[in-house]
Symmetry: D2
Subunit: 138 residues, 4 copies
């Protein structure tokens, strides 16, 4: 299993007039956690973009369990599923500084040829170094 833990501090500007973090900002936390996992496992999205390959998000689901406040120190636990040939699926758990579950989420991304807009089949080649590296560790 490919996993990553990412530590993020809530910014003031991420709150709304309810006094909690606005629900749209969790999307940015998930993205930061996802890129942290990618970078830690050798998947360089910026380099792929230079080659004309992009990774758009095709679906996202978030369940908000507890509110977040300015200054909260959260941990995002991200897990990459590798059993789908066409989608890069990730699962997330966001915990606050008291180790309480704040939110759960799923996202799915695909590898797309930027010019044509076509899905890239068998994208696991981009994950191989990543998977191999992980297997060597575990």
């Amino acid at each position: 299993v490919i996993e990553q833990k990412t530590w993020i501090i809530v910014r003031y500007g991420e709150t709304d007039q309810m006094g909690y973090v606005h629900h749209s900002n969790y999307v940015l936390y998930l993205e930061e956690a996802r890129f942290d996992l990618f970078t830690s496992h050798g998947l360089d999205v910026a380099a792929l973009e230079q080659e004309g390959i992009i990774l758009p998000v095709v679906s996202m689901e978030i369940r908000y369990v507890l509110p977040l406040h300015f200054g909260d120190q959260i941990t995002v636990e991200t897990r990459l599923k590798t059993d789908n040939k066409f989608k890069l699926e990730l699962k997330y758990r966001i915990l606050n500084q008291d180790q309480k579950l704040v939110a759960k989420a799923n996202t799915a991304l695909v590898f797309v040829e930027s010019k044509s807009g076509k899905l890239i089949p068998g994208f696991h080649k981009y994950l191989d170094p990543l998977t191999l590296k992980e297997e060597m560790i575990s």
Copy 2:
């Protein structure tokens, strides 16, 4: 059925380096559409907040079908489901200027007493004027 159509133009700052609208900004479009429906049907969220009642989002699901670009003129079709006693459930369809489906989404909100954090049961009282108004029209 309580429905609303909301027209939004994509801002430049909502794009990302892929050249499309960043997926987090769809959350803001859904929110704008939802408040448009609320306002058009007599539900005044700001007034409720003054009374100590808030409406946090408890879940959200988005499926991204087609990319959006700077300057695109989108229509968000929002539909309010009223058969759940505890959750305010909304369904959305986002269409671009060519009437093509860009995204589908669901959100659920709850009415919460701000001080205590307790769910407010039987929240339909806040929807009554709205529902009644709608029934008079249809």
Copy 3:
């Protein structure tokens, strides 16, 4: 003088826990107003980008006079100065629905060749159709 008035409604997600619009979001209002002026006067930024010319912001100054609230209906009055050969300078006044001054701002943009990062001198050619059009009107 090249001027434009742009009408914007404040989004809920643009507020922060003070209960006012977060000061970073004024930057998006200015941008929306600026693009509204551009579009109304024939300057197509997206088309220029296709040709490899970009318009980054090089400076920005905002004075916040009165707070803005969720749902406020603001008017941005934008004025383009054309007397600087190298910078596209704009002045803005943001008014609320009571016609009270909410904020004043200045921004400066430059035309840059995307690949080389070089400033494009004599950029007024891009403004000519715009200026001419304006002069024909006035």
Copy 4:
């Protein structure tokens, strides 16, 4: 002199279709840096808000010198000026991972009684512990 250095990594969602960080996001970097300085020097904005005192930004000026890219690791150097009785003035320099100057900025904030909207004169009482602490160190 009261100073602070804050280290921030650029998020993917902070880029725009030019391929650089959108200029509005520098405002969030400045804010994160400012709160870092506040927290490190004993000024607890959240606690003040509980007492009904808020710190809105009243002016902001940013000069953009070099573009920022996704993944860049920036340092914000923040300096608090304490010679103005009514405004909390801060100066910022943003450097990239190559120690090149990316942007310079100034912001001014005021202490306001939330209910009345009145400026709080002689706000240095909030800064005293901070200033004293600093003087003991230097």
